[in-house]
Amino acid sequence: MEEEFERIVREYRDKIFRLAYSMLGDRGAAEEAAQDALVRVWKGLAGFRAESSLSTWIYSITRNACLTALARGRLRTASLEDAAPRREVERRATADWFAAGPPDAAALLDRLPAKYRQVVALFYMQEKSYDEVASMLGLPVGTVKTYLFRARKSLAEELASERVRKGVA
């Protein structure tokens, strides 16, 4: 079982960390939640009956570990989901988010509805793999594609119209 666990740690640590980071929005908290998830995997590995695939089981444990972390209120920094209200103030203070050149990622995410944010962040972390993101979030691939399409469209339209309105090339 130890060899199997070592293989899981090697194979899944990055994915588990990314999933946690996309849920918690903070590297330290993500590392802690990823550790919790892997310890739970170790605890449950002997009883794992392969009724679902190993990856589905691991991702589900990771999501639960993140939800536990959020519920415990261990998180000092806000999650991606509730970042919007906090950053609203910062956004007002930092003008010209739409200026020429790549805008700020956090500012872009804040402009998205909460349910799109995690999908968008994870999509770019996972080298744009729809299947992997769907598997990690436990969502149908079609839903992931729809969320991403709507998110990118909304951001591009908003960015383009702001630039045109303000006369920024």
Partner: protein, 106 residues
Amino acid sequence: MACPDFEDLVRGGAGDHAAHCEECRALLDALADVDATFEAAFAGISAPPSLAAGVRARVAREFPVRRLSVLPEVLDFIGWAAVFALAAILLPRFLPLLNAAIASLS
């Protein structure tokens, strides 16, 4: 010519229409900026090296490997020793009686 919808525009890239339409070109530029921003922010994020070490340490701490107890072996030894001791005490007493019984039968 009417602007294509977003999906067709993205699929067709900077085709004929986008080459002549400032609005569509701006939209494609904005989309490229959005993609570039997210890629720069999120691509290549991987677990810190301390994660695996931290997990191993926690597993070792929370689930220590239990050393097998020698108690069953000791109890087993004591039990068998008692059996042999009892046999050693009783056999010399009963062996003459047993021999006599066998002799009377024959």
